[in-house]
Amino acid sequence: MLKNIFEIAGTALTAQTIRMNTTASNLANAGSVSPTEEEAFRAKRPVFRALVDQSDLNAGFNTLGGVKVKEVIDSTEPVRKVHDPGNPEAGEDGFVYLSNVNEVTEMVEMVAASRSFQNNVEVVTTARQLMMRTLEITKA
């Protein structure tokens, strides 16, 4: 049914929104500093997976074929260590740890996510038009 197309595109819209949200969070935290390396902010990245088997249907998805965010992982890039004794967040040795967010990468992610979002909106628009035409078949 055409309804499935709405479901499939809907899962993609959700996934891309999550991707845009993580990007926004990363950019917002690009300047965050921490006293230890472990606490330093690491860029978040969603991992997409296709909806393919019964376990996805059990998990509450109505249609197979869409996409879901499997998990959100931390970037493994090294964090930057800066000597800044005046900073209130500085550790005993006077170092602060900056986030490992790369603003350029985040901007690229953001544009890519919004383009993918638009693609799926287009899919919904076309499917909706066809559905309306199918409903009008009785007036033929």
Partner: protein, 127 residues
Amino acid sequence: MKLLENPFGIHEKALAVRNQRMELISANIANADTPLFRAKDLDFKKVLSNTNPSPMAATNTRHFETGELENMSAIVYRTPYNSSVDGNTVEINVEQAKYGEAATQYQATLQFLESRISGIRKSLRGE
């Protein structure tokens, strides 16, 4: 006159197949950013060859009916024009073109159905 016996002919089934193809392509577009995802498509010729032969007769109660569309075997993987680092074979421009094509074909089938319906209407009215 067999006017009302199977009035829609092949188009009724064709509409379902067209729709299934659109579903597959929309799934491709949804998974444009999924690592290792393989783009799929429906081989219309294969679907038709699966539909056309007369279904095997179920002569025993334990036999299964075979008249249904067997579309699963007609699903094929797309060969990408360019490879990608993450193993994803969805090329969004190709998928968009195919989606537009599939939407047009869906409309064509709808058109056939509409003209069948209006034809039957006219003949029933006797105008």
